[in-house]
Each structure stands twice: as C-alpha cells, then as structure tokens.
C-alpha cells in the first residue's frame, strides 16, 4: 500500500482554471511501478510533439502585423505558406501541451 500524499491542487474548485495562467509545477518524473499507477495511464503512449525551440528558430512574431513570420523572410507570414504545422506549441496556461495539438505539414 503506497503512502498517500496530498495533491497540491484544490479539489473540485474550478477557480484555478478561471483565467488560469498560473504556471503549474511541471513534473518530469519517472513512471511509477505498474501496480501503483492509475489504470488509465497503463495505456499512455509516448508522442513526439516536436521541439518548440526548433520551430521558434524558423519563425518570429511580428508585433506590427500581430502574426508570425519567417525569420529569413519577414514579409512572409507562416499562414501564407499553406502550411499548417501545429496550432499551438509550448504550454497552455502552464498545463502542458493540449490533447488536440496536431501536426499536418504541407497541407492547407
């Protein structure tokens, strides 16, 4: 029987999610033993969500246009290139990548 510890979030209250934007502690831990692991996580699979830093090296935010453009060609917005790569990278409200982050190169 594992020793139980209090979780750090408030139970039930949606208040932390109301205009959340508070960077939660990002936990990068090793998986626990299979007999002490929530059942549903037995089926969690690694997924490559890409390296945000790599993408950000190629593009930059243009504060005047208020959209992202290529670093090597600031006249060209990414969206004009017909490419849909990933709608959002990095963290959302500090909660980690969303479940619907997606990647479709060269389609648009």
């Amino acid at each position: 029987m594992p020793a139980y510890q209090h979780a750090s979030i408030n139970p039930f209250s949606p208040l932390p999610d109301r205009f959340a934007l508070i960077q939660n502690q990002v936990i990068r831990d090793e998986a626990g033993p299979s007999d002490h692991r929530p059942f549903v996580l037995r089926f969690a699979v690694p997924r490559d969500l890409g390296d945000p830093a790599e993408v950000l090296r190629e593009y930059q935010y243009d504060a005047d246009l208020q959209i992202a453009v290529r670093v090597d060609d600031p006249e060209t917005p990414i969206i004009a290139m017909g490419r849909w790569e990933r709608t959002t990278i990095g963290t959302k409200d500090g909660r980690g990548p969303g479940q619907e982050d997606w990647k479709m190169d060269d389609k648009g």
Binding site: R18, P46, G96
Partner: protein, 316 residues
C-alpha cells in the same frame, strides 16, 4: 471598437483570425499573457465602469473600446527570475485576479469566458447536460471501484473503453505521453489494478460508422466526419491525425438544436463537439471541448470556420 485576442505568439489559428479581422478593417489588439507584466501594461480605473488601457510598446487598447475577447489558450504570466517561488506564485495570483479580473469585468463578448470554459470542462457535467439537452450519451461510470467497472462491462457485453476525465497528457520518463481512449481487452478486465488509485471514467463502446467533430461558432455549425484509417485512429481519432480522412457533412437539425441549447446552458459561444455516429444513423455525444482546436478541420475540409469566428468576434 476593438477585438482583443489573447493567444500565444506562435498560433497559426489565431494568425488566421487576426488576418481575417484586419482584412475587414476591424481593430485588433493581440497579446499573450506571458508578456505580463514586463511587456504588457494594464492601467485600469473604476468609476461606474472600468476605463483605462492595456498596452504594449507597439499598440494599446482602451478598455471601454473592447468589443470582444477571444480567449485562445494564452500562456502563463512571466515574472523576473529573481522572484522566489512563493513570490512568483503570489505575483501570478495577483496578475490573474487583477488583469484577468478587469478583463472579465468588461461588458465584452467572450469566446469563451474563462470561467464558463472551466465549468464546461468537467466531463460528468458535459454528459448530464448533453442528455438534458436531448442528445444520446454512452452508458458511463466514474469510479475508483473495480467492481463497478466489471458491472458496466457485463452490461455492455465486455465492450467498454476507458478515457481520461481531464487533459490526457502526461510528462514523464523525459517525454510526453498521451492516454488516448482505450478499448479494454479481456486481459485488461482481468486486471484492473490502479482503478482504485483515482477516479476513472469508463463508457460503453459505441459501435460506429464514423466519428464527427462539430465545431460550433456562435450559432453556426461546421461538422466534419472523421474516418479513422487505422485501428488506433478508429478507437480515438486523436491517436492518428495523419491516418484520418475528413469530409464535411450536414448535422441533423435536432442535433444542431441540442448543441445550441448545450452551449447556452454553459454560457459558451464556442464548442468543439465529438460524436460517434452509429450504423443506424444515430449521433451519440462523447464530449464537448470548449477550447477545442479547429485548424485541422478547416484545413482538411475547407469549412469557413475562421470566417465565422471573425464574424462572431466583430459582431456589433
């Protein structure tokens, strides 16, 4: 009047909407909350109404001119590295209740209001609300008792799935893992160890011809059939974006009416509904993500969702 877009700097879906709005001559103020407080300055005063400005070094918006706010997954506030952990947490709370509080107090149209979105993110509430709005929903248990899971499996002839109640993303072992909807095998049912560790959601498996993602923007509905072309993608289309086929389709009017009732019930103006369409043609509600993505649906079907979002945000 100005449309405020709260989004990360690199967000192609937000880029498309910003460009659509600007092309229509609509004033747009885009900001990421990670710019606060260093690059985003709030100056708000209350005297019968909230007035003041929200500004960056490039542009500003008068609070009384905010027509609408698109709360499109902005990122966390950023504070000086010199702050201690407790100071940072305190500063973040104050920023949330200050910047977030002022914006949410404005008489503006929100897509979606963060509070309504938070309320609508609870899947048990989604299921009961969907049913009360007239939609079919799967038999569902939320439990930490393995015996209850076996009872549901008995009722469903062993055909049940497990799916997360909240975000399905986990960072461990130095990588990102995702817990997609999983159809339980007899071996899974024989060993339900771990169910007792927290709340789990199990549902009857819905035999389906295809899935549907119905994106509702205001009162406009854009539906796409999703044909999962792999075994994993058939069970949960999120598991295989590359192997899915999309096609637009019409939504039965009773389902449209039910979705609009559902959004009104939660105070939402945007929702991404997931359905399984059974072989008999009945649509079964699975969930509604109030902040769901639509970029890949628009890219794959040509449905004019960006235009509809611009319509909604720019509406007088």
């Amino acid at each position: 009047m100005t449309v405020v877009v709260l989004a990360e700097e690199f967000d192609l879906t937000a880029d498309r909407v910003v460009r659509e709005l600007v092309g229509r001559g609509v004033e747009v103020f885009r900001a990421d909350t990670s710019w606060f407080p260093e690059e985003l300055v709030l100056d708000a005063s209350y005297d019968d109404t909230w007035t003041g400005t929200l500004r960056t070094t490039h542009r500003s918006v008068r609070l009384e001119d905010v027509r609408s706010v698109w709360y499109r997954s902005p990122s966390a506030f950023t504070f000086p590295a010199e702050l201690s952990g407790p100071e940072r947490a305190f500063a973040a709370r104050e920023a949330k209740f200050g910047l977030g509080g002022v914006l949410m107090a404005l008489p503006a149209l929100w897509v979606n209001h963060p509070g309504r979105e938070a309320d609508a993110s609870y899947k048990p509430a989604q299921l009961s609300s969907a049913r009360e709005c007239g939609l079919l929903v799967p038999a569902t248990v939320v439990t930490n008792d393995p015996k209850v899971v076996l009872e549901l499996a008995d009722q469903a002839n062993g055909n049940i799935v497990v799916k997360t109640l909240g975000p399905n993303v986990l960072a461990e072992d130095g990588t990102t893992k995702i817990a997609y909807t999983h159809r339980l095998s007899p071996a899974d049912l024989a060993d339900l160890t771990g169910v007792e560790l927290t709340a789990h959601q199990f549902q009857e498996w819905i035999e389906k011809d295809f899935d549907v993602r119905a994106t509702v923007v205001g009162d406009k509905v854009f539906a796409a059939a999703i044909d999962g072309m792999s075994e994993a993608g058939y069970v949960d289309w999120r598991a295989d974006f590359a192997g899915q086929r999309l096609r637009s389709l019409d939504v039965p009017p009773p389902v449209v009416r039910a979705m609009l009732r559902y959004l009104a019930r939660f105070g939402l103006r945007y929702g991404a509904f997931d359905f399984a369409v059974r072989p008999d043609g009945e649509w079964v509600f699975l969930e509604c993500n109030p902040g769901g993505q639509y970029g890949w649906i628009e890219a794959g079907t040509g449905l004019p969702i960006t235009s509809a979002m611009a319509d909604l945000l720019a509406r007088e």
